[in-house]
């Protein structure tokens, strides 16, 4: 079976996913120095529980969550805390971080390799506690703490759980490789989440360009127990197929109301990476201190998917992968459509990092910014049904109120309009500015 409908709009950028070649996951050696920013999730930053000079092991809790919407942080290597200071942060520019120097022994806090089969019998509350302790956040990029998302208010029960394996961003193949290497564990995690939420069904959505993952999951489903309600659904290949609202529409035909959350229509979406992390937290009692990322781009000599410790500086990964002698233009955390350009390679891998791309000047777009010729391609491409050209012009003229009235705040910043624009207009830049200005004036009014 396949998803019958598709969302309106969308684009087909060149995928470039084959740069990584084979889809094995290689273990990246623990770095000499790990930089662990305290803010790695939405909500408030966590509070350090170690101080300078403390000895830590792999998996030791080094910062505790502060408030409900916040997440724990664990050491990713064994060694000594040498400082807690401001350090480059890939999302915030600069933020407080715990800096740990490795003792090269890589001692774990406890054994993380044996599966605890009794975990399947735990109660929902116990499982949520394990997830909260492990500091798991949404690994698709939103970094919303998982224990909050998995505990919806009682008046909004979740009926459908969607596991998002679309990975529609070009270049990135980390979720794909994870699906191929850890299919069984992901399914176990999915069953676990379905049980916590008491959901009726669980849909595993995978884009059709990952045929091997689709067939592997179907095969595994047949060999597992407790799989009632689980289903694998291939999706059309289109960007942004993996965007939450578009994914839900494709699979269920329901639209998340403007300004609302998926749980308003009884749906919850989790990323493949998050599901795997939840499996590890529940069955292996392993906190989130490493994740799979793609290191790619035509600037990288040996692109690959690595299982890498959180806190590894980008430059360690880039040096290890080698740099080609082509002109390097951009260093990006995440995919080329929604990723963030970095000003330095000192930044560390954080929980939100799904990939590191080193783009050459031939791949990275040079935006010339000719005048808009009103071709309407952005209107056709916008998956949210907006008129990006109009919104951006209104923001450009300072009319935030008008822009708001035609859907400024509904934009999810997928970048489809900006990609397709033949004039090279920086539509998204203006839309982001408009959203920022709107939030600022709204907060000022309060």
């Amino acid at each position: 079976m396949k998803a019958k409908i598709t969302f309106k709009g969308g684009i087909h950028p060149p995928e470039n996913k084959d740069l990584c070649g084979e889809l094995s996951i290689k273990d990246f050696p623990p770095p000499g120095i790990a930089v662990l920013p305290l803010q790695q999730s939405l909500g408030s930053p966590s509070e350090p529980v170690v101080k300078k000079g403390d000895k830590v092991k792999k998996g030791t809790l080094i910062a505790r969550s502060k408030g409900y919407i916040s997440a724990n942080l664990h050491s990713s290597i064994s060694g000594e805390v040498i400082d807690i200071k401001k350090a480059p942060h890939p999302l915030l520019g600069e933020a407080n971080a715990v800096i740990i120097k490795s003792d090269n022994r890589d001692e774990p806090e406890k054994d993380y390799s044996t599966e605890d089969v009794s975990a399947a019998g735990l109660s929902s509350g116990e499982i949520l506690g394990l997830i909260q302790n492990a500091g798991i956040v949404g690994l698709g990029g939103a970094t919303f703490p998982a224990h909050v998302k998995l505990n919806p208010p009682p008046d909004k029960p979740v009926k459908t759980l969607i596991i998002n394996g679309a990975e529609c961003e070009p270049y990135l193949a980390s979720d794909h490789s994870l699906m191929l290497n850890n299919a069984e564990q992901i399914l176990k995690g999915a069953v676990m989440i379905k049980k916590i939420l008491n959901a009726e069904k669980c849909l595993i959505a995978i884009e059709e360009n990952k045929k091997d993952a689709v067939s592997l999951f179907r095969q595994k489903l047949n060999s597992l127990k407790d799989i009632a309600g689980l289903e694998v659904l291939p999706l059309n290949v289109k960007y942004p197929q993996g965007a939450e609202k578009q994914l839900i529409y494709t699979l269920t035909g329901k639209e998340v109301p403007s300004g609302g959350l998926p749980m308003d229509i009884s749906v919850l979406v989790h990323n493949i990476g998050t599901v795997f992390a939840i499996y590890e937290a529940v069955f292996l009692k392993k906190p989130l201190f490493e994740r799979v990322i793609t290191v790619s781009g035509k600037g990288i000599k040996n692109p690959a998917n690595w299982r890498v410790r959180i806190g590894t500086p980008f430059k360690t990964l880039i040096n290890h992968s080698g740099v080609t002698d082509r002109t390097i233009k951009k260093l990006i955390m995440g995919g080329p459509m929604m990723g963030l350009a970095q000003y330095t390679d000192e930044v560390p891998v954080v929980k939100a990092t799904s990939g590191i791309l080193l783009l050459t000047s031939e791949e990275a777009a040079a935006f010339e910014h000719l005048p808009c010729i009103r071709c309407g391609k952005c209107v056709t491409a916008c998956p949210m049904g907006l008129m990006p050209a109009e919104i951006s012009k209104m923001v450009e003229k300072g009319r935030i109120d008008m822009a708001k009235s035609i859907g400024l705040m509904d934009c999810m910043e997928c970048g489809s309009c900006n990609y397709i624009c033949p004039s090279g207009t920086n539509l998204l830049q203006y839309i982001k500015l408009g959203k920022y200005e709107y939030m600022r004036s709204k907060n000022a009014k309060r």
């Binding site: 951009k330 350009a341 390679d345 777009a365 000719l370 005048p371 998956p383 859907g407 509904d410 900006n418």
Partner: protein, 321 residues
């Protein structure tokens, strides 16, 4: 290792499509080449001169305007070339050359740059240039090089002219049978403007634009469909192919009405725009003073484009109507 390299920091996205405005303009120009070639083949060397003069005058005016207005030079984006080419294709083949040059100047200087340049014009520059020449030199603009001759030696004008002024019978006198008339219209061996007669080659060009995703189907399909429906109700089965292939309809529907700058931005608006063009075209052809109405129909619809856009907003995802 990256220390000596400069990293560019911009907001996302970091990749973009290869289809730029410049490429779009040149692809449209290329799609017009077959029709222009047919025009030169049927109407002779002077047609080639008309095309050259229009293009050169448009380019020169664009250059002077950007120079005077101290704007970055935009000649290479191909929009002025395309305007000149389109203008030439809707002019009669024997128009004096200085008039062609004046038309090119008007198209670029008045309809494009007086409004702010590429992307800001309200009216389609090529059509506005043609309308200007029509107002200025009404006689020359309706003097057609004729390819068909009456048995008694009187030369005939365009088929639309013939139908309007002398009636169906004289049209049939020139073209013997329906099938002969339709064949000639499709190939382009009839009187008319340089680039508008060869319906077949223009349709090929239009299909190129559709497949290259430079235009969408909304305007051409709604435009042509409307014309077909109205011509069926006014002229019967004969009317459909006759009104479809004669005059500038195919050129207008695929190349002029789809001009992105002057047509609505939303798909729904584009359909309304196409229907409006179709109704006005047929209204002018059947009831109006001119035999052909494509040019004025599109110009009139250009002027209501902002209004259409206001009432054809897209449906925002997650918002209930």
């Amino acid at each position: 290792m990256l220390k000596d390299k400069h990293l560019t920091v911009t907001v996302s996205p970091h990749i973009k499509t290869a289809l730029t405005t410049e490429k779009m303009m040149w692809i449209v120009s290329c799609a017009l080449v077959p029709a222009a070639g047919a025009g030169i083949y049927f109407f002779g060397f002077h047609a080639a001169l008309v095309i050259t003069v229009c293009v050169v005058s448009s380019l020169l005016t664009e250059f002077l305007c950007t120079l005077l207005m101290k704007k970055p030079a935009t000649i290479k984006d191909g929009s002025a070339f395309l305007t000149g080419l389109l203008l030439a294709l809707c002019l009669p083949p024997e128009l004096p050359l200085w008039m062609c040059a004046l038309g090119g100047f008007f198209s670029i200087a008045v309809t494009k740059f007086a409004f702010g340049g590429l992307g800001y014009n309200i009216f389609n520059p090529a059509l506005a240039g043609r309308a200007f020449l029509m107002g200025a030199f009404a006689k020359e603009m309706t003097t057609w090089k004729t390819l068909q001759v009456f048995p008694d030696g009187i030369t005939a004008a365009t088929p639309l002219n013939l139908l309007k002024e002398q009636g169906y019978d004289s049209l049939m006198k020139v073209f013997d049978s329906h099938s002969h008339l339709f064949r000639e219209l499709f190939i382009g061996r009839v009187g008319g403007s340089i680039g508008e007669t060869s319906a077949g080659l223009l349709i090929i060009g239009g299909l190129i634009l559709l497949f290259a995703r430079i235009i969408t189907w909304h305007i051409p399909v709604s435009y042509i469909f409307t014309v077909m429906v109205i011509s069926y109700f006014t002229g019967g089965v004969f009317g459909i192919p006759f009104h479809l292939f004669s005059g500038g309809l195919v050129l207008g529907a695929f190349f002029m009405a789809t001009d992105p700058v002057t047509s609505p931005i939303t798909p729904k608006g584009q359909i309304i725009f196409g229907i409006g063009c179709g109704i006005l075209t047929m209204l002018i052809r059947i009831r109006g003073g001119y035999p052909e109405g494509v040019c004025y129909a599109i110009l009139l619809m250009n002027s209501v484009t902002p209004l259409i856009e206001r009432y054809s907003k897209t449906k925002i995802f997650g918002v209930k109507r």
